[in-house]
């Protein structure tokens, strides 16, 4: 073994984890990935920037365990500097839902530094979206049709924020329409509806308004006043309706 390498490894072994090289953990992005999402793993820790850690690519080592290992690089007596680092890796979607662990540590040491736990879930497959709060609720349904081959179906709702959401048709990563409903009643007495389409398929968006507690009835679609917006096939258009009124 090269004496310089031996000194570096010994210095590293004696330093870990109290020295420059520490591993805090792994940021998982998206934080709650679905079985369709590529996942960004960002290792966060500290190191000596004059002697940065070398990384192996993430690899599955057991069912639901992904190994991420660091090694010291070859340097002797670097300046005594410590700084935070982030090291990012992107992995393919994990097709099975459930719990996974990132086994994060230093190569050659028999025990893992950290076991980072995250969960993979199935994508949202609710055939509707609910926006609003309290009694001011709206249920949105989207239907699509492809005249090229006659196929048709319903969109799956994906909440984005309290007043906004999206729909996917074929792939959860591929949003086809986004919608928001804003409270414009202080301005003109109406709710305002915005629909942005990213498809040229025929698309029908129906918005049901929760009036007199009609959402509480176990009926789908709800037996409530509604309004429909239709995009014909071959179009790609948005809808802005600042005078929304369901009937």
């Amino acid at each position: 073994m090269n004496p310089k390498r031996w000194l570096a490894v010994l210095a590293f072994a004696l330093a870990v984890p109290a020295g420059a090289d520490t591993l805090q953990g792994v940021l998982v992005d998206p934080p709650n990935p679905t079985t369709h999402d590529r996942i960004r793993l960002t290792v966060v820790g500290t190191h000596n920037p004059f002697c940065p850690l070398l990384w192996t690519n993430p690899r599955p080592v057991a069912n639901r365990v992904i190994e991420l290992l660091a090694e010291p690089s070859d340097c002797v007596t670097p300046p005594n500097v410590v700084e935070q680092f982030r090291k990012t890796f992107v992995i393919d979607p994990l097709p099975a839902p459930g719990k996974y662990y990132v086994y994060l540590g230093f190569a050659g040491l028999p025990y893992a530094e950290k076991y980072e736990l995250f969960e993979v879930r199935q994508p949202e497959t609710k055939p509707f979206l609910i926006l609003g709060t309290g009694d001011d609720l709206f249920q949105i349904l989207v239907e699509w049709k492809n005249p090229r081959d006659g196929s048709k179906g319903g969109g799956f709702g994906l909440p984005l924020a309290e007043d906004s959401g999206a729909f996917w048709f074929f792939n959860p990563e591929n949003v086809e329409a986004t919608i928001k409903i804003l409270d414009g009643r202080p301005v003109n007495g109406h709710w305002w509806v915005f629909i942005a389409s990213m498809t040229d398929l025929e698309m029908k968006v129906t918005i049901y308004e929760n009036r007199n507690g009609c959402f509480s009835l176990p009926v789908f679609p709800p037996d409530c006043p509604s309004k429909t917006y239709v995009q014909t096939a071959g179009q790609n258009r948005n809808f802005i309706d600042v005078n929304f009124s369901a009937e």
Partner: protein, 248 residues
Amino acid sequence: MRTRAFIRTLALALPLLGFSAAAFSQEQDLSAIRIEPSRPTPQDPVRIAVTVGMRGDPDLHLVEVRDRRIIFSYDIYDYPSGQPMPPLEPWSVEETLAPLPAGVYTVEVQSAHITQFQRTFEVAGPSPALVLQETENSAFAVSVAFEPPPGGSNPSGTGYGVPLTLESGYFWFFSPRNVELTVKILDGRGTNGRYWVFLASMTDLPFTVTIQQCPASPVLGQPCVVKTYTNPKGVNRNYIDVNAFSEL
């Protein structure tokens, strides 16, 4: 490449360093850590729910929050021998922390002062940019500038990005509840050798979307490729560009 001296050093050092000998046991099958919101800002209280699987009450509780570590602890229940083992049950505790300063935090679930499993999360303020379609070769940074209406709540005219997946996200202008623009960058190289850009707008305010495609590792002399999409005042339209960017 390990010498005998190195192995002896390790053998002496490991007990002092307190490494855990057993990372996985059946008790961890019910393990869970949930953090809400999943991307907290410095204004959000953070709700943390921890679950462990044990055969008796493990006294799971929050111990302390220090140095960006949020430490929970539980006891391994020493079940009397000679009796039938009851099934594992989930035992949970939930804590809500006051808003945390920006930074990276780790929820550690410990038994006998050894971290059995953990979850790391970041507290960050609203971001003026989204990084999408990150690959080994390049990444796309998306930012939005809009013309704020007089008296609006965001006079800076900077849109704030929220990621959805590694390929898509959205921007808000005035409130995190109010999505204005959705962006997705798809890898269409298999079809026409290009990355495709889709912008879906739910506003008629004037805005400019700037997308910078930069090399993953800075390369001397290789600049970023920049493309902009400008929306005039009073217009609401989408932008679909299937010839947006080629591979760097």
